[in-house]
């Protein structure tokens, strides 16, 4: 995905949708000094947890204020939604899906039916009990033809949905071609919706009783389970409100959820205030209030050291500023996202796989990790980065910087001649292209000149062009006229990449890479539910990608979180992040 700093957060957003409050992986607690280590790992066994206090968290950009789990578009909104809402499922420390709002869930032997027994002790923040109605309402809203969000396609596997979506696409095509009026198109979509509701829809999402929900799929589809973990909306608050105007509903700005913290207010550009949900089903939160402050990244570390903030996401280059401070704990874990250089395969320069391999080998990616990330990251060789549960280190061993091999591959591809300046030429045409990169992510922006210099060393001439994100996205995704670009992408916890490598989607369409074997492997992988059967499929797919290089895989930057250890007690950081058990955290009285 993404490109700006914020885009890193879209990774979190996707994870959130899969039920986790923060992105994940084995956390390595690195407290500033050994004395504080027990407080971190054991959660302060000598002290008794106490109630009350205010926790000050920080984020670096203002949320849009769309605090609706099925509408939000950016990771800052998602941070708030993660505290206010809960879904049917969440993740455990191994990142497996486990019950959150359910007591138990079962999958039928044919892998088509998912039965959820809901918890009976869950209440919405307004005191209303949580029931199967809320579950049905949330999924029906996502599938409604007027629903203004992006999630619909995630549920195409549910019974009859694919057919309904195909009909909608036909209607849209007919409307675009001018064969039918917009009114008629809307009427036909509504007809299709009614037909689904009264037919397959009754089975797709079904409330058997107040506390049992059954989902039925057309065929086994592994990513569906993770998508069923989407945070749920309260039916009683939205009842009777047109689905198309969800964004205008007051609860989209002032949300009511079932999560550990209740939304109090958002002071635009300043902070979001949250209060504990007394009836939270996993236990009454100990910390009374959370102030999620919007902070300036350059000032936040000073605020953390001065005790104004309890939690700050860190840049690798800033780690040295807090290392050695006994009151500040640093928690590092792999990110599920990674950075890459996109290539336009329609450009004949990149059509040859050997050329793409040469580009990968010519770039000193390890130097980027060592110097720009200060070691807080790793090389990425394929789509599933090293923090991913389906990452297989055996699949593709890290490829080292090898300009000699790159030159050999380029020669094999027919690039043997050089011009007076030492650049490669073939049939009178130089090997020259423009690399676009967005402003915003300082580390990524700094990689552009390194890539330029490395490629120059093998005779490839790269012209750099920095632009702000909207312009770049327009060129890459709409115009499809860019040669090469730098971007990042967040990967969901299910290994299925969704439409990212589908040449008919906007993402796959940007590169124009088409590969039948990749498509076949992904179809197989999505049909299997047993991890033991899925792993070999995705191992093969990883190898294919590493070989074919639809994009030039660059690096994955670790997530680093800094927390005030003298104030925040009860931390049990793991793959889910430093604060995943926020309702169990507490602040000692003398540190209020």
């Amino acid at each position: 995905m993404c490109v700006r700093y914020r885009t890193v957060l879209i990774a979190q957003l996707i994870l959130l949708l899969s039920g986790c409050s923060l992105p994940l992986f084995p956390g390595t607690p690195r407290p500033g000094s050994p004395e504080t280590a027990p407080g971190v790992s054991s959660g302060g066994t000598r002290e008794q947890p106490v109630d009350g206090g205010t926790l000050y968290l920080s984020m670096f950009s203002a949320p849009r204020g769309v605090f609706n789990p099925i509408l939000m578009e950016d990771g800052y909104d998602a941070s708030i939604v993660g505290l206010v809402f809960a879904g049917l499922l969440t993740r455990d420390e191994r990142l497996d899906l486990v019950c959150d709002l359910c007591e138990s869930f079962t999958v039928s032997p044919d892998h088509r039916e998912y039965t959820f027994r809901l918890r009976r002790d869950v209440t919405w923040h307004d005191g209303h009990p949580f029931t199967a109605r809320d579950v049905v309402f949330t999924f029906q809203t996502i599938l409604h033809p007027d629903y203004p969000g992006v999630l619909t396609g995630e549920y195409a596997a549910l019974r009859g949905v694919e057919r309904m979506l195909a009909q909608r696409a036909q209607v849209a095509a007919a409307q675009a071609a001018g064969r039918i009026s917009p009114e008629e198109a809307a009427a036909r979509r509504r007809e299709g919706w009614q037909a689904w509701l009264e037919g397959d829809g009754r089975l797709a999402v079904r409330a058997v009783d107040d506390h049992t929900v059954v989902f039925t799929a057309d065929a086994p589809h592994a990513p569906l389970l993770q998508n069923l973990a989407v945070p749920l909306l309260p039916a009683h608050r939205f009842a009777g409100f047109p689905a198309g105007e969800l964004g205008e509903h007051p609860d989209t700005r002032c949300p009511v959820g079932t999560g550990p913290y209740r939304f109090v207010r958002y002071v635009p550009d300043q902070y979001v205030e949250l209060e504990r949900h007394e009836g939270y089903h996993r236990g009454r939160p100990r910390i009374e209030r959370i102030i999620y402050r919007i902070a300036n990244q350059d000032v936040a570390i000073g605020q953390l050291k001065a005790g104004e903030l309890d939690y700050v996401p860190m840049k690798p280059s800033d780690v040295v500023l807090v290392e050695g401070d006994p009151n500040i704990g640093l928690f590092t874990r792999p990110d599920l996202g990674y950075q890459y250089m996109g290539l336009n395969h329609r450009n004949p320069l990149f059509a040859d796989r050997r050329v793409r391999q040469a580009i990968l080998l010519a770039i000193d990616r390890q130097a980027i990790v060592d110097h720009l990330l200060k070691g807080h990251g790793r090389l990425v060789e394929s789509h599933l980065p090293y923090g991913h549960p389906y990452h297989d280190p055996e699949a593709v061993p890290p490829r080292r910087h090898d300009p000699a091999a790159a030159a050999r591959l380029l020669a094999e591809a027919g690039w043997t001649e050089r011009d007076a300046e030492g650049y490669l030429v073939r049939a009178g045409r130089p090997f020259r292209f423009t690399l676009l990169y967005p402003s915003g992510n300082a580390v990524r922006a700094a990689t552009a000149p390194l890539i330029q210099a490395d490629l120059k060393a093998v005779g490839i001439r790269v012209d750099l062009q920095m632009m702000e994100f909207a312009t770049l996205a327009d060129m890459v995704f709409r115009g499809r006229q860019a040669d090469a670009w730098l971007m990042g992408w967040g990967v969901g916890l299910d290994p299925d990449p969704g439409p990212v490598f589908d040449p008919d989607s906007r993402w796959g369409g940007a590169t124009g890479w088409r590969n039948e074997r990749s498509a076949a492997l992904l179809r197989t992988g999505a049909r299997l539910l047993d991890p033991a059967e899925r792993r070999p499929v995705y191992r093969e797919w990883a190898r294919l990608l590493a070989e074919e290089l639809p994009v030039i895989f660059l690096y994955s930057q670790d997530q680093i979180e800094a927390v005030r250890l003298d104030r925040v007690r009860g931390l049990r950081p793991d793959a889910r992040g430093a604060l995943w058990n926020i309702w169990e955290l507490w602040i000692p009285e003398e540190r209020r």
């Binding site: 995905m1 993404c2 879209i10 205010t54 000050y56 203002a62 849009r64 204020g65 769309v66 578009e73 203004p148 992006v150 999630l151 619909t152 396609g153 995630e154 909608r168 696409a169 849209a172 675009a176 964004g247 205008e248 989209t252 002071v267 635009p268 550009d269 300043q270 902070y271 205030e273 209030r289 102030i291 402050r293 919007i294 902070a295 300036n296 350059d298 000032v299 000073g302 605020q303 050291k305 001065a306 104004e308 702000e468 994100f469 909207a470 312009t471 996205a473 327009d474 060129m475 995704f477 709409r478 969704g498 439409p499 990212v500 989607s505 906007r506 993402w507």
Partner: protein, 321 residues
């Protein structure tokens, strides 16, 4: 005088109309639109097309402009595409903090810049002049963001921890009336100082240069020859004329008071117009951009009008007829 002001105000309208057309054209010439940043791969292209249609982004540009203009004339500035709230509300929320910061900073600049400028000009060539000029050059050389960070280091996060580091009010407090004012005032000190102190230098050197020029004029020699005390010569005769360029400067600075503090606002997390403008620009939030730019255009025109009126106060030769 009244006739002059009315005439100028009447001229404002067509100028604003022209400005709006120009702003509209420039904004639309930039590549991308509010939805080009929406690159979530799950986003259905049909939905994106629908969104574009709903906001009439595919309509011919003249039609879009007319749509915007006719709504704006009815007082409807539209709804922000990014924040999904009415533009007027969005800007209104940030107007107060922006005005507080801009006016305070400008006052600091004026209250220090004019006296120091006079001092340096009157004591020209002495150590006082050298010292004031050196300090001013230092002020010119230090960017506001750097000075802001130094202030944070000295007065908030390190050194004397006596002032809040960021924000408009203490987060989580629901104050009203005087306590709210005092709380906001405490938060205002650092950003206003950072912004104000760094603009003292420019103002000071303008005053100094203008005053030096005036001090060499014949009519001042005449005034002195008449036997007027030096104080009267300086403040009644010299300063009034020297302030003419300063008044122009202040008038043209009016839009800057509201929108010119993007970096200071982002260091101190001040909820002002500057940051809103920046975000709206990055996101191509057309309705917000139109409203903001039109507001800046209006303020520029108003500023020059105020400067013209200000001339009458300081320049005895100016008469409005």
């Amino acid at each position: 005088m009244a006739g002059f002001v009315v005439r100028r105000l009447a001229q404002l309208l067509p100028m604003l109309l022209g400005a709006s057309l120009l702003i509209f054209a420039v904004i639309r010439l930039a590549p991308g639109d509010p939805y080009s940043g929406l690159i979530d791969p799950r986003m259905d292209p049909v939905k994106v097309a629908e969104l574009r249609q709903r906001h009439c982004l595919d309509c011919p540009l003249p039609q879009q402009y007319w749509r915007w203009l006719s709504n704006a004339l009815r007082g409807d500035l539209g709804t922000s595409i990014r924040f999904r709230v009415p533009v007027a509300e969005l800007i209104g929320d940030r107007l107060g903090p922006s005005l507080a910061l801009g006016v305070t900073a400008e006052s600091i600049a004026l209250l220090a810049g004019i006296p120091f400028g006079i001092l340096a000009a009157v004591r020209r060539g002495t150590w006082v002049d050298t010292a004031v000029t050196a300090v001013a050059l230092g002020g010119l050389a230090i960017p506001a963001f750097f000075f802001g960070l130094l202030l944070l280091r000295w007065l908030s996060l390190g050194g004397l921890q006596i002032l809040p580091s960021a924000g408009f009010t203490t987060p989580g407090t629901q104050l009203t009336g005087l306590p709210l004012f005092l709380d906001a005032a405490r938060h205002l000190i650092l950003p206003a100082t950072a912004l104000g102190v760094t603009s003292i230098a420019g103002l000071m050197s303008h005053v100094r240069a203008a005053l030096l020029e005036v001090l060499q004029q014949d009519y001042l020699r005449t005034a002195r020859a008449k036997g007027l005390p030096e104080r009267v010569v300086l403040y009644r005769h010299a300063l009034r004329n020297a302030l003419i360029p300063v008044v122009t400067l202040l008038g043209l600075n009016l839009p800057g008071i509201l929108g010119g503090a993007i970096i200071t606002e982002s260091i101190f997390l001040w909820p002002g117009i500057g940051r809103l403008t920046y975000t709206a620009l990055l996101e191509r939030d057309y309705p917000v951009l139109m409203a903001l730019n039109l507001m800046f255009a209006g303020l520029t025109l108003l500023g020059s009008l105020l400067a013209d009126i200000g001339y009458a106060a300081v320049d005895p030769r100016v008469r409005f007829e």
